[in-house]
Each structure stands twice: as structure tokens, then as C-alpha cells.
């Protein structure tokens, strides 16, 4: 019965149900799900239970480095198609510096002075994926860092005494897409390389229809001088046009062997995502590199395109093929060198192969056929076990406690498993789509353990929105407990692939170049010796940079002269860098204390062009300048 007084609606029977409905809706909105219009930030991930205050605080403590204190480990990221190497610290994950390798870098003047320009060989970019620390007896020794270059078929060596790129070798003949590189043998005898995109040898021409016959793959290595680190061409082996992907070097019993995986053993062309993925199995190639070196020096190789190349059909015992799960991406030899683990990225299976079994199968000639002159071993005779690991397994790293960690691209996670039993013990999601992962020392015979770093491919949503062009995400995960624990998200420039890490105590870089080591014939150490010398149209300037003056303070040349400025930074104190930039002449070099750099250019523009110190040096840095007068 309706009642027309003010509060009559309260007494209506239906009002109770309405009130109850409102209550239900209110409970729903306030207890679960996002409020409309409010952006939610995901915590540490569903599987890790979110970032509760307690675990966030302990994670922060595990990564915090007090101002004035130093990180415990160096972390060297490859820079991918930036062509550089990024140096960070562990556990803070802070970026500390960039080592320019394959691309000019005006911040340090790399690629602007004569010496580095020559090293770059006219290329202005490179695609570097896999850094590799030099080793002695399978353990990192802190001398050099090698890195591959995929686009222009090169390998670079960085000297860890001053963190500078000292040599770039290549383009290596017949090599095409140097991806399976720059893995280092147990005593840094050689550094591996392999072709990712088969093509005709020696820069010959052949149409794509002739792919299966005229296109070839190569695997090989450059030799490393044990004293200077100087790289020179070593062995090279011609293979069918498979796409060689990743490599790993043996240790201990397997130290004489190198392994690579391939995809596209189908020898497909066109749309490779389909044509390269038809077979259930591709191959691991096992190469006895010791034998390869021997065979090359014994004259069993033929000159192809300017390099000595071996044909496996001519050298028995040189190389063997082992079937591996579909389109494998990574091969990783265990720290003791007794096993190598291969994951098929298009299968949910990781295979553990036994080196001992491989040797036995070779002895017993347990072959199922021949490809490209290489015996194909029976899969089951080499396999130790298969691990049902997860979707899209790629790379495996090892810790110091007998555990293995495999990255799962499709699952966007890392799986921790026991090497002996093959049991998966833990998985942790990562953001997002992990490629490589790194346990410090995880590819050496003595892993340091402590963390696994996830090197992810996609970072969307994990950082402040910076527009369409996104940085990369790497994550620091603690592996000291039974379960893995995410500690930190770091963001880097594009685009790390693999990385290396070693304890800070292993490296002893210098910060000032001692005068006695400066062998540059144009180095001068006193302002009295500075000056301009002319020889026809060649002008040589010897310049001194010291707080806060360039001597000479002016340089007079004629238009058309070739001018070489040899500038020495005579400071003897750390961090006292000086830069020399010349207005409108596209010149910038940065000179470290005790260093001499030469920059040569043609004075093709007449007029007056100031030069100045570009790298902040002192209270009177602004006043550190001069004039280039081109008549």
C-alpha cells in the first residue's frame, strides 16, 4: 500500500531488496577489481604474491648500495644493434658506463679520432649480441671481453685494463650474419663465429633458387695471441646452408670441442618462419676445434674467399651432427664440461646430452646418416635425458649448486631445474618474453651463482611511459634460496641480448695512462713543446690540454690543408678528461689523462672556427677554448 508521507518509501517492502542490492554492489566495487578510472600498478607478479611491504623492503636491501660504497660485480651487457657494450654494477643494476665498440659515440669521441675511425672501417653501426670474458682453465681471468658483430661479420676485443675497444677483426670472409659468436674456449685459444644467413662463398652471386646447392654456411674461430690478445684468422669449416644460431665451448673433458645449434636444417627460403620450422629436429654441430686447427696448419684447408677453409668430408673426425629438438636456440655446456643442454624453442622440451656418450657414439660409429660430409649421430645414443620444461625454452645457465636455469620465451618465465634429476623445481614469471639469462659465471667452469638476470625483450608497462620507442627490461632475481626471488627491474638502452658478469675484484682497470706507456710519436708533455708545423698542404698541430687551457690557443691554416691535431692530456689525476670539439667541422675527441689522440680533417671551409673543451674539466672549463683560422 502506498503512503504519501515523506519517509513512506522506507517502509515499502521492495526497499529492503533495493538496499541489499546496493550493498552487494558496494561490496563488489570496494573489495575487488579496479575502481573505474584508476590505473592499477601490478605488484611483483601473481606468482610471487605481489610486493608486500616486507618482501619489497628485503628486496630493496638486497640491491641497495650505499653512496660511497661500490657494487660487488661488474655486469657487461651487449648493446645489440646499438653496437655498444653497457657496463652496470651488481646488485644495484645501475648503469655505470658505455663502452663504444661498433658505432661512433661522441660522448667519448669514439669514431672521431684517426685510430678508432680506422678500427670501425667505414661502418657506422654494428649488431652485437654475445659478450664473452676471456678464460684461463675455464674460469674468467679478467683480461679481455670479446663480442660478436652480426651485421658486418666482425668480432671485437675490449681490453679490461682500460675498458677500451682495441681491435675489430673482419668482415671475416665467407661469414654471413655472425651470430653464433663470440664464445671463448677454456684457455682463450680461440673465439668462435658462425653464419646465421647462409650465402654463396667468397661474395659470389647465385640466385635464391640455388640455395640448397650454391649457398653455404660456415662455422669457425679466430685465434687469440695469449700475450697481446691480438685476434687473427683461425680455422673455418664449410657446412650446408643451415642457419647457425648459438655456440658454446667445452670445458674439462670437452675442452677441445665447440658446439653450435642451427635452425633451418630444412634449407628453406622465402618466409622462413614457415619454411624453417617444418622438421621436428634440427642439428647440434660438435666440432673438434683442436683437430680443426691442426688440419688447417697441416695444409688440409683450401683458400676460399681469402681464408683457409676445411671441408668436413675431407677431414674425418672434424665435425659431427646431433639431432636436437625443433629449431633449437641455445646450446650450453655445463660447468664440469660433461654435458651440453639444448632447448628447442618450438618444442616444450630441453635435452641434456652427455659428452661421454657422444664420444662413445662416435667410437661405435652409431650414425644414422651423413649431411654435408658430417656423420649424423643417433639422437638416443647421445641423449642423457629430456626435461619437460615449459613453452619456448631457449638458453640455459648454471649456478654453483648443481642447478640449471632455462629461459622460456613463450611462457615469459625462467625454470629452475636439477641437472642430475631433470626435475623442474621452480618457475618465476618475467616481464616480458625473456631471451637470454645470466648467472654470473654461468658459462664458465666456476659459476659464482647468487643471482640470475633475466634479459627480457619487451618492457611495456613496467616503466614510465616514454612513447612508442621503448627501452629494454632486465630483472635481477635472487637464487640463493630454494625459490627464486625477484629483486629488481632495471631498464636499459636497446638492446641487450646476452651479458657477462664477474666479481669486481677480478678486474683492476687503470684510470690514468702512465706517461711511460704513451708511445704515440706525437705526444708532448710540456706546453713549451706545443705548436703548429707545416709541410706543404699538410699541417700538424701538437697540442696540450691541461686545466684550463689548450696550447696553442689558435691555429692558422689555409683552405684545403689537411690538418692533423695531436692533442695530449697531460693531467695526472683521475677523472680529469678534456674534450676537443671544433665548431662546424664535425670533430669531437675526448682525451683521457695521459692519453694522446689524433684527429685529421680537411680544412674545406674557410673562416674562423672556435674549438673548445667539451668534457667538463674545471672551474674555468668555459674559458678553455681557441680559434681555428682557415684562410
Amino acid at each position: 500500500m502506498s503512503n504519501h508521507s515523506n519517509r513512506s518509501w522506507l517502509l515499502h517492502p521492495l526497499s529492503g531488496w533495493v538496499a541489499f542490492a546496493v550493498l552487494l554492489v558496494a561490496v563488489y566495487i570496494f573489495s575487488c577489481g579496479p575502481r573505474p578510472g584508476v590505473e592499477t600498478r601490478r605488484g611483483g607478479g601473481a606468482a610471487t604474491g605481489g610486493a608486500e611491504t616486507g618482501s619489497a623492503a628485503s628486496a630493496a636491501l638486497a640491491t641497495y648500495v650505499n653512496p660511497g660504497d661500490l657494487d660487488e660485480y661488474y655486469l657487461f651487457y651487449s648493446g645489440g644493434h646499438s653496437g655498444q657494450i653497457y657496463v652496470a654494477g651488481l646488485p644495484s643494476m645501475r648503469h655505470i658506463s658505455t663502452i663504444p665498440v661498433f658505432a661512433p659515440y661522441s660522448a667519448t669521441g669514439y669514431g672521431f679520432d684517426d685510430a678508432t675511425k680506422k678500427m670501425l672501417g667505414g661502418y657506422t653501426w654494428g649488431d652485437c649480441h654475445h659478450p664473452s670474458l676471456s678464460k684461463t682453465n675455464g674460469e674468467y681471468d679478467g683480461r679481455w671481453l670479446f663480442i660478436n658483430e652480426n651485421a658486418n661479420n666482425r668480432i671485437a676485443r675490449v681490453d679490461l685494463r682500460d675498458f677500451k675497444t682495441k681491435q675489430i677483426i673482419g668482415p671475416i670472409p665467407n661469414l654471413s650474419g655472425n651470430h653464433g659468436s663470440a664464445f671463448v674456449t677454456a684457455n682463450t685459444e680461440c673465439v668462435l663465429y658462425a653464419s646465421r644467413f647462409s650465402r654463396p662463398l667468397g661474395h659470389a652471386y647465385a640466385s635464391i633458387d640455388e640455395y640448397k646447392t650454391k649457398y653455404k654456411g660456415v662455422v669457425g674461430a679466430v685465434n687469440v695471441d695469449p700475450n697481446s690478445g691480438e685476434m687473427s684468422y683461425g680455422f673455418q669449416i664449410v657446412t650446408p646452408p643451415y642457419d647457425w644460431d648459438l655456440g658454446s665451448t667445452g670445458k674439462g673433458p670437452s675442452a677441445d670441442w665447440a658446439f653450435w645449434t642451427c635452425y633451418n636444417s630444412e634449407e628453406g627460403t622465402g618466409q622462413l618462419e614457415k619454411t624453417a620450422s617444418q622438421n621436428d629436429r634440427d642439428y647440434v654441430i660438435a666440432v673438434n676445434w683442436k683437430l680443426a686447427e691442426q688440419a688447417t696448419s697441416e695444409g688440409k684447408a683450401t683458400d676460399v674467399g681469402g681464408i683457409k677453409q676445411l671441408d668436413p668430408a675431407q677431414v674425418p673426425g672434424l665435425a659431427y651432427l646431433i639431432p636436437a629438438p625443433k629449431s633449437p636456440h641455445g646450446v650450453d655446456v655445463t660447468p664440469d664440461g660433461t654435458m651440453f643442454v639444448v632447448s628447442g624453442k618450438l618444442e616444450a622440451v630441453t635435452t641434456v646430452f652427455s659428452y661421454e656418450k657422444m664420444v662413445a657414439a662416435i667410437q661405435a660409429k652409431n650414425f644414422t646418416g651423413t649431411e654435408g660430409g658430417m656423420p649424423v649421430l643417433n639422437y638416443d645414443s647421445v641423449k642423457d635425458k629430456e626435461v619437460q620444461i615449459g613453452n619456448g625454452p631457449l638458453h640455459t645457465q648454471y649456478d654453483d649448486k648443481g642447478y640449471a636455469y632455462t629461459s622460456l620465451f613463450v611462457d615469459s618465465a625462467i625454470a629452475k631445474w636439477d641437472l642430475k634429476t631433470g626435475t623442474v623445481l621452480d618457475t618465476i614469471p618475467v616481464t616480458y618474453n625473456i631471451g637470454h639469462l645470466l648467472v654470473p659465471g654461468g658459462d664458465s667452469s666456476k659459476p659464482y651463482g647468487k643471482w640470475v638476470i633475466a634479459l627480457n625483450k619487451l618492457s611495456h608497462g613496467q616503466h614510465l611511459n616514454v612513447g612508442p620507442s621503448q627501452p629494454e627490461c632486465s630483472q635481477l632475481i635472487d637464487i640463493t634460496g630454494d625459490k627464486m626471488k625477484l629483486l629488481y627491474d632495471a631498464f636499459t638502452e636497446p638492446e641487450p641480448h646476452y651479458a657477462q658478469a664477474c666479481p669486481a675484484s677480478l678486474l683492476h682497470p687503470i684510470e690514468v695512462y702512465p706517461q711511460a706507456e704513451n708511445k704515440d710519436p706525437n705526444a708532448i708533455w710540456d706546453v713549451k713543446d706545443a705548436g703548429v708545423a707545416r709541410n706543404g698542404t699538410k699541417v700538424d698541430v701538437k697540442m696540450v690540454a691541461v686545466r684550463s687551457t689548450f696550447t696553442p690557443t689558435s691555429i692558422e691554416v689555409n683552405k684545403g690543408d689537411t690538418v692533423s691535431i695531436h692533442v695530449t692530456n697531460i693531467e695526472t689525476t683521475t677523472d680529469e678528461l678534456h674534450g676537443l670539439g671544433i665548431i662546424e667541422y664535425n670533430v669531437n675527441v675526448v682525451i683521457d689523462p695521459g692519453e694522446t689522440k689524433t684527429v685529421t680533417f680537411v680544412a674545406d671551409k674557410s673562416g674562423v672556427f672556435p674549438y673548445y673543451c667539451t668534457n667538463f674539466c674545471s672551474a674555468l672549463h668555459q674559458e678553455m677554448q681557441g680559434y681555428l683560422l682557415v684562410k
Binding site: 702512465p514 686545466r547 695526472t572 689525476t573 683521475t574 674555468l620
Partner: protein, 220 residues
Amino acid sequence: MKKQQAAFIDFFAQPLSRAAKVLLICAIVPVFFAFMFPLWNMSFKSNQYPNPLRMSIYANHLQGQKTADRDDLREINSLNHYIGMRPILESDFAEFTWLPFVIGAFMLLILRALVFGRIRDLVDICVLFVYFGLFSAWDFYNKLYNYGHVLSPDAPIKVQGFTPPIFGTEKIANFWVSSFPAGGSFALFAMAGLLVLALAVAVWRGWVWYVSARPPAQAA
């Protein structure tokens, strides 16, 4: 008057006692330390130099702390050129020539005192040593004064003339400057102390002898 003069001369003409001679020999020992260790240490600390710049003045040379990453003496001169201070160069220190010479001369005087052995010889040494000490202190102060006041008129940063501390810690611009004696100076202090002690012992022994050799009647 003449008698008193004669008595005075006679007193000091007495030989040095054995104890005094022993102490005199001991006074030679610190000299080696005077050359081995710095005479004076100076340090310069600031926010950007938390690990202070250090400079040591030895009896015969100047030395800045030098590591692979920093040459302190060059660094100090590099910074000082902004205020127009003259560079601190070892060649500007004549002291490094005459200090060793003077200390050598003292060794000879001590040797002479041991050989000819009269109290007056020891008095000579002590007086000369005091003079040497006072002169050195004045000379050090004067040098500091000059470095801090003789500033180039076209220096980029104009500062009022100042004197770096001879002893203690002082704030000069952004630097805490500390100046303190070091091992070498302590050695010279020890040498002075031993010389004075030797003199005291010699005079006391001499008084005892002198008094015993002259009957009390003559003293009246």
C-alpha cells in the same frame, strides 16, 4: 770582576762528564730519522678531495703523495694556478741545500765536543741549535707567507693574500688545510732535548767538580 770572569771561563772550560758525552753520542742517533721521515706534513681536504691531497717536506726534498690515479704535488700546483700562486717546485727550496749542510755541521760540532770535550763546546752547540731552530721556524713561516701573498696580478680568481698554517688546521677557500710536524721534526726535537739534557748533566757534574776543587774559604 776579572776573578768572576776567570771563574766563569774556568767553569766552562771543565771537561764534559762521561754521562754528558754518552748523551751527546745519543743525540747523533735522531739525525738519521730527521732525514728518513718528513719534517713537516701538509694536507688539503675538501668535498671533492675526500682523500686529501698530501705534501711532505723532508730535510732534503719535497714530496707529494703519488698514486696511479693522482700526483698530489702536480694537482696542488694545478689548483693553485687559478689563484695565481707560484708553483711549488723543489728547485725553489734553497733549504734543501743548507739544511743538510747545517745538520752535517752539527754532527761535526758534536764530534768536536766529544774529542775536545769542554762544557763550553756543548754550550756552543746548544746555542747554535736554538738559533738554527728559530731561524728554521722563521724561514718556514716566511716561505708560507710568500707563497700565499705573492700572487700573480692576472690570476683568474682574485683572492686576498693569505698565509697557509704553520701549525694546525685552517679553512682556506673550499679546503681544510692541515699542517703538522712529522717524524723528522720530532727527531730534531729529540736531538735538541738530548743536547739540553747533556748540557744539564755536564753543568751539574761540572758544578760538583768545581765546588769540590775550590775550598769554601775562597768563595767568601
